[in-house]
């Protein structure tokens, strides 16, 4: 069998999976936001070559927040990124107050949103791969988009030439916020999926 084709098939499966994962995230987020209805539009998933990753967001110098979690066991890493603006809007809705910049509480609200979003993806992945996938403690970075994105690549230690990006649009009351989940798989994990896939 053609190795390249199999790898594509695994990537396709992961893209499919990201739809399921984000669907779960929608339910979770609604609960977290309590009174406010939060919807998530059907997400768009894509494979992004790492050479283009820094250009993911339209303005490479815009301030963004990135959180990065390594997944234990050489599985890879998972990140969640948002413009600082949208992250603060969502944190403000969660904390029910006007925020002026970042303090410990608003940072942790942003962290928790990223936790829910990435956990939904990872849990869906764990189901499909029948493995236990444990994300480690998150690191957070705030800075110009291109720098944060490139740092995600470097600090995750990824050697993969492609990453999976799931763009999610959050429908808040009177505002649409955007966020991206990024899954950076290790080749060893892809090999495991290839094996399982073949068995099916």
């Amino acid at each position: 069998m053609n190795q390249e084709l199999i790898k594509d098939a695994v990537m396709d499966m992961l893209l499919e999976l990201s739809n399921i994962g984000t669907g779960n995230a929608a339910t979770s987020l609604s609960r977290m936001f309590g009174n406010e209805a939060v919807g998530i539009e059907v997400p768009t998933s894509l494979l992004c070559p790492i050479s283009k990753f820094a250009e993911l967001l339209p303005n490479p110098e815009e301030e963004i927040v990135g959180t990065l979690r390594m997944i234990e066991g050489d599985v890879g890493a998972i990140a969640f990124i948002q413009s600082l603006h949208d992250a603060l809007v969502m944190a403000g809705r969660l904390l029910d107050k006007h925020l002026q910049g970042l303090d410990e509480l608003s940072r942790s609200a942003i962290d928790e949103t990223s936790n829910i979003m990435t956990a939904s993806f990872v849990n869906a992945l764990a189901d499909i791969s029948d493995m236990q996938l444990v994300p480690a403690v998150a690191g957070m970075a705030i800075g110009p988009s291109a720098a944060v994105l490139n740092s995600i690549l470097v600090e995750s230690g990824t050697v993969s030439d492609q990453v999976i990006v799931v763009e999610s649009v959050f429908l808040l009351e009177q505002y649409r916020a955007t966020g991206h989940i990024v899954f950076l798989p290790e080749s060893t994990f892809l090999d495991i999926l290839i094996d399982k896939f073949r068995l099916e």
């Binding site: 790492i50 050479s51 990753f53 820094a54 250009e55 490479p60 110098e61 990135g66 990065l68 390594m70 480690a136 403690v137 998150a138 690191g139 957070m140 970075a141 800075g143 110009p144 988009s145 291109a146 720098a147 944060v148 994105l149 490139n150 740092s151 995600i152 690549l153 470097v154 600090e155 995750s156 230690g157 050697v159």
Partner: protein, 157 residues
């Protein structure tokens, strides 16, 4: 004329123009310049070493492969080893709160770049490295002036 260099890329420009790179988080931007012969090069280094993955990888990403390549091509374009020097920026640690072996990868990248430049006999005449802010860097080919933008704070090297 502005030439944009992305992660793992490099560019060499003679006489006139600006070479720029964005997104220097833990990455290191390396500018090489020969003021007499007016040749400038800029490289965006991703990691210290390819660690045996050379065959499948873009050499421009790694300090140990990219810098010798950049150096050689600068000389081919008319730069002279005696009048060539380097300025570097980046190698920050943007992510706080992480635990594990990849802590300080920015610092490791800076060290790898400095070591390789020393091996090549190129003196580093200016640097803006470390910290936890992202940077962009440009070099003006006409003058060799390097401008570093660190989250709004401008430094010249």
């Amino acid at each position: 004329m502005e030439h944009l260099v992305g992660l793992g890329e490099y560019a060499i420009v003679k006489e006139l123009g600006i070479i720029k790179t964005l997104g220097l988080g833990s990455c290191v931007g390396v500018a090489l310049y020969d003021s007499i012969n007016r040749v400038a090069g800029l490289s965006h280094i991703f990691l210290a070493s390819a660690n045996g993955r050379e065959k499948h990888e873009n050499p421009g990403k790694y300090a140990d492969l990219a810098l010798p390549l950049l150096y050689k091509q600068m000389l081919q374009q008319g730069a002279h080893p005696r009048t060539l020097y380097a300025k570097i920026a980046g190698g920050g640690q943007l992510f706080s709160g992480m635990e594990g072996p990849l802590l300080n990868v920015g610092e490791q990248n800076v060290l790898a770049v400095q070591t390789k430049l020393k091996e090549l006999g190129v003196k580093v005449s200016g640097q803006d490295v470390g910290g936890n802010k992202g940077r962009s860097m440009s070099i003006d080919v006409a003058t060799g002036l390097v401008i570093v933008n660190k989250a709004g704070e401008i430094t010249t090297l």
